[in-house]
Amino acid sequence: MFYQQIAQNKRRTVYVMLGFVLLVVLIGAAVGYVFFNSYVAGILMAVVIGGIYMMLMISQSTSVVMGMNHAHEVTSVDQAPELWHVVEDMALVANVPMPKVYIIDDPSPNAFATGNNPEHAAVAATTGILEKLNREELEGVMAHEMTHVRNYDIRLQTIALALSAVISMLVNIGMHSFWWGGGRRDNDREGGGYVQIILMVLSLIVVILAPLAASLAQMALSRNREYLADAGAVELTRNPRGLISALEKISDSAPMEEADPSSAALYISNPLKKKSMSSLFSTHPPMEERIERLEQM
């Protein structure tokens, strides 16, 4: 069952990448058309920026994400024996190499995993989670993270994160050059007619809606993976109670101070805790639903 999930995830990574690349090209074209008066320049810019950023992100994902979330690495067992040992145990039973371990100085309990593959993975825990959770609960949380590692969710998330960052960067570049006078001048196009007005409007719509579409896609991906990771965690620890009470403690606490909004989808529970009006916009499934599914195991 889990092997199928891994294969499915790898396939899905390819689809997500293709979809995002298309979106990036489309946005590049739209940004180019609206702000520079040329499709080609826009597409070229999008491909170059997107390519460089992706390469950087994939090779440096761990340090970039950890940096964004102000996490520092734990390099020896003495610095955090319990966390280190729990991570070691979960890596052992999940049959993946020991990931790097990071700690975030934040009183709110939370944790996440990131990286490119199980050989280059990292997990982070807040100081709050280490204080508030007992060993059993911490095992549940780390087993959840290790499932993300084993199922290649981390790679899927890294790529989704990088691409949505690229999209918002493109829109920003377009906006800036527009405000600072580099934009299109109306007299460049005389006698354009309706077609050009329509194209212009369409392009503007793409520019406005694209970042939204990108984050919607990222959120939908993230939501589905959480249920699977919860199930996988129970498979590893054989102890649903630990994860249930961990999730209860996590959902009862205040939001994080240090969390980076763009990596919110990585955390075991949304670190920003914004009560969204529609579940379409949330990165995580509702906590009650997750706990209920765990209780049925």
Binding site: H85, V93, N95, R135, E136, R238
Partner: protein, 185 residues
């Protein structure tokens, strides 16, 4: 001519399938052996920690010498278990786990012992080892299940029969034992 080509192709395909199945069996067996050695490492590690524990708690009167003696005796029994005998190793290990647990329980009545950093470190080490034994047992059973499924299912059962692959016995993990292992401090 055509029939010869077809026959050759079929033979080559059969050999390839056979080789693939055989290799799958071998790697499943290697995995299960590897996961046993994971357990073995932890058992040895615990045996290395026990003298430290005995040394640390010896001075505290309430530790009846019998409790400590039992632990020391089980430890030496552990070392005498023949290398291949998984079930016996696990049996002695379970008894050792229980005796260690009673030592941990007794430490509740000695606040100054509990407060000592050396003891705290030892406790973390020992409970870490206990947890690792439990989790590596679980890993062993899942690798064993993988191998056993291959040995029983078609067509790998034919290859397994020819090359005498034998099923691996699962390690019994009693429910109560699982509880014992989760020592939280």
């Amino acid at each position: 001519m055509l029939t010869i080509i077809i026959v050759v192709i079929v033979i080559v395909l059969l050999i390839a399938i056979y080789a693939g199945v055989y290799n799958g069996l071998v790697s499943a067996r290697v995995h299960s052996q590897e996961s046993w050695s994971q357990i073995d490492v932890q058992l040895k590690r615990r045996n290395d920690l026990i003298p430290n524990l005995v040394e640390t708690v010896k001075g505290y009167g309430k530790y009846e010498s019998s409790t400590l003696e039992k632990v020391v005796e089980l430890r030496s029994q552990m070392m005498q278990v023949p290398a291949g005998d998984h079930q016996q190793a696990m049996e002695v290990s379970d008894q050792l786990t229980n005796s260690l647990k009673s030592i941990f329980a007794l430490s509740e009545s000695y606040p100054d012992l509990k407060a000592s950093t050396q003891y705290a470190k030892l406790m973390e080490e020992l409970s870490n080892t206990e947890n690792k034994i439990a989790y590596s047992r679980q890993l062993f059973n899942s690798t064993a299940a993988n191998l056993n499924t291959k040995i029983q299912s078609f067509p790998s059962n034919i290859v397994a029969g020819i090359h005498h692959f034998t099923q691996v016995e699962y390690l019994q993990v009693p429910e109560t034992e699982k509880e014992n292992v989760k020592v939280s401090f």
